[in-house]
């Protein structure tokens, strides 16, 4: 009567969550049919920040790579999209892929340099690399140098799918572009969360979790820590680059200061992840909602908004290092994206 075993990762909460997610996704896809443009834009903002946050969380929360230079990939990706559209007539939608690939290519020398550094040195090193990229791009005269540039009207009007949306929804061109970029952002965010969740459930994801807990032990059981670092860094750069391209595609204007803003694309993202709960998929989702709520509530108070944000970050670090999701799941044990493999015995 040898017992036999099966392995599952699902929990009741996760099954409910999965069902809810499907409904939510359907609603999200349908939003442009019912919602106002301002809601679509807010959702676009939430989705792109969420994407950035998920990738940073993958880096820092899972890979232990605390990068302060993700703006390099946002900005470089976005600039390649603009450069592609302006200089080589690349359709901006295809340009998104170009943005991702460009960021990936940039990530290779960056990683080569930054992986020589540890801990705080790594953080500062990535920041300096991002500055170097910013200053170099600011000398690229064809896309406006330090002035920046706008996406040419021809390129904007040629965006794949925008024309169809314009006809189908009977909206103005600018609104059609919003809908298109919203759908793209939705697809990117879903692919990001889905992809990261899938990855964490593979054996590589398990190894990543093991490395996070104990590098020495992980290496002794055959985990290739170097390669894991590379994989995580490159994947994060690729996704961050696409997100960057998308953000500035929607924005229509780019300048080195905005594209490589350490505050907008790294600091706020870190806030989102940490406030929500680092090292979980749920954390950034919760974090981005909190961030957005704060921004909406307090944006009219100028400096006070940022002070509150800063103080909240400090408070969370001091009193709830696991973030809001950590508090929540610590109390209730709920996990929406379970990755734990459970061994079930059947006699």
């Amino acid at each position: 009567m040898a017992a036999h075993y099966t392995v599952t990762t699902r929990t009741t909460a996760s099954q409910i969550a999965a069902a809810a997610a499907l409904v939510l996704l359907a609603v999200a896809v349908a939003v442009p049919f019912i919602a106002s443009r301002s809601l679509i834009q807010d959702l676009f903002f939430i989705l792109t920040m969420l994407t950035l946050a998920q990738f940073w969380n993958l880096l820092a929360g899972y890979g232990g790579l605390v990068s302060v230079g993700q703006q390099a990939f946002v900005g470089f990706g976005a600039y390649m999209l603009f450069g592609g559209a302006i200089l080589w007539g690349v359709n901006p939608v295809a340009g998104l892929l170009l943005a991702g690939v460009a960021a990936l290519v940039l990530a290779i020398p960056t990683a080569f340099f930054a992986f020589r550094l540890q801990g705080a040195y790594f953080a500062i090193g990535t920041w300096v690399v991002a500055e170097v990229v910013r200053l170099s791009v600011a000398q690229w005269k064809a896309v406006g140098g330090g002035t920046g540039t706008s996406l040419p009207r021809d390129a904007r009007d040629a965006m794949w799918g925008a024309g169809w949306i314009e006809g189908a929804f009977d909206v103005r061109a600018s609104e059609a572009r919003d809908i298109l970029t919203y759908w793209l952002a939705l697809a990117l965010a879903v692919a990001t969360i889905g992809g990261i969740y899938w990855f964490l459930r593979t054996k590589r994801g398990l190894a990543l979790a093991a490395l996070r807990d104990n590098v020495g032990a992980a290496r002794s059981v055959g985990v290739d820590s170097e390669r894991m670092k590379w994989v995580v860094f490159l994947v994060a750069a690729f996704g961050t680059g696409i997100a960057g391209g998308l953000i500035f595609l929607q924005n229509g204007r780019i300048s080195p200061d905005s594209a490589f803003s350490v505050i907008d694309w790294t600091a706020f993202v870190i806030f989102i992840v940490v406030i929500g709960g680092i090292g979980t998929i749920e954390g950034p989702i919760l974090g981005v909602l909190v961030f957005f709520a704060l921004q909406t509530l307090l944006a009219d108070y100028g400096a006070w908004y940022l002070m509150v944000l800063g103080a909240l970050g400090i408070a969370v670090m001091l009193f709830a290092p696991g973030g809001l999701w950590g508090l929540l799941s610590g109390r209730t044990g709920v996990q929406l994206f379970p990755i734990q493999r459970r061994l079930n015995r059947h006699d």
């Binding site: 090193g125 300096v128 800063g310």
Partner: protein, 287 residues
Amino acid sequence: MIWVDTVLQGVLLGGLYALFALGLSLVFGIMRLVNLAHGDLIVFAAYLILMLVTLLGLGPFVAALIALPIMFGLGWALQRVVLNRVLGTDILPPLLVTFGLSVVLQNALLEGFSADSRRIPAGWLETASLPVGPISLGVMPLLTFLSAIGVTLALQFIFYRTSLGRAFRATSDDPVTASLMGVKPASVFAQATGIAMVVVTIAALYLGTRANFDPTTGPARLIYAFEAVIIGGLGSLWGTLAGGVIIGVAQTVGAQINPEWQILAGHVAFLAVLLVRPRGLFPRAFD
């Protein structure tokens, strides 16, 4: 001749960067604390000096002298109340807390002092110069550089010649064993941050007299300070000074070739040094 001048001016500029960096180096070396609010603390100190100058009608140097103990107390309290709680092997908590602090500080200054750019008046000293052969060196930049050397010497003395400095190094090596010697790590760290704030005040004096500052001036200089600390080597004070000089000279030489490369050249020098020596120029023998 232009090149000699360029390098000399770069060295003097390096003195300013070293002053920015020395406080950071102290805190980084003793507690492995990456203080992202350092630049904003310098700006804060500059406003403090400015207030003393305008409200009490003091000279900038006297005002700075009064600001020193105030800043020491602030640093002490900051470390005691906030930063001690996030020290540890994980670099993220201190990174985030000091970044939060930076944001809070910057915006509080913005509320309090508006975005107007201000300057600490230094009278005739501002434009005074000293001819050295065919080259003319500014008195303020010279004072800045001499102060950087002075601060390095003073910190070096505290570090290696006093019992407080011994406690700094011991606690930095091993806080638990240090506590077995009767050291209170929390209070040693607080004193270290207090001293770092004294250095910050000196840096603020020269930042504020050299050029205009406004509440957002801090972060732009922070990165140079970090570069100086890192290429100098963790915890090496002379290394930090050397690091500042390297960044300064790289910037002026870069600018001489083409002004577009000025800031870039500083960063590239940093990357190049780290590529060759990942632990900086004068690393500690262990850790």
